[in-house]
Symmetry: C2
Subunit: 100 residues, 2 copies
Amino acid sequence: MEITEISKVLSNKTRVAILQWLKEPERNFPPHQDIDHFNDGVCVGYIQDKTGLSQSTVSTFLTSMQNAGLVIPTRHGKWTYYRRDERTIKAYIDALAQKL
Amino acid sequence: MEITEISKVLSNKTRVAILQWLKEPERNFPPHQDIDHFNDGVCVGYIQDKTGLSQSTVSTFLTSMQNAGLVIPTRHGKWTYYRRDERTIKAYIDALAQKL
DNA sequence: TTTATATATCTAGAAAAATAGATATGTTAT
DNA sequence: ATAACATATCTATTTTTCTAGATATATAAA
């Protein structure tokens, strides 16, 4: 858990928004049919639609968020679902509260 | 209090370190003679020495931290002293805990 | 009032990030 | 096997950040 790496992710409004949207997938995204609810998160396409950015940019963003430990990808068939990693998010906030 | 602006400040290790050093000025800097203790913080020169970066870079960093609301400058004669703005720091952490 | 000192701002070059189009990869459906 | 589709990666361009040297400003000292 690197404070500066996570802070870099959070220095971009789109990436912060993605993280916030993933907090309430039912509220922020259309329902997934095949997969039960949003147990594994939201597929990249839905996230892309909501950002209005290109597919490659959103994929790059999600990869950086994954590298920082903020989201977890799960593959189901051709889709990759992303969900928040609450442990890292909590660890980051706790670290700030303690060290900052 | 802009989350992304503050996060951008925190995305650089030197800037995070400065903020942490300012938490305990007596511990991290030589004593100031004229001014009573570190009531108004630490002068730029001391901070610069500790970072090892150039004067202009440190000044730029401190200005960006000031613009983000993280530090407060006070001028005493030829020196500018910087101290933490605990309210903004707390507000930032609280905002993350709530919104993130 | 000149000189020295501390800090801020300006200028510029190098490095990193944002962004998108094109292409590759992996999966499903036909 | 082939076609269609979702996502990742590659390539390139534009924008932003990092960094420092040079210069400007403000204050204090001589």
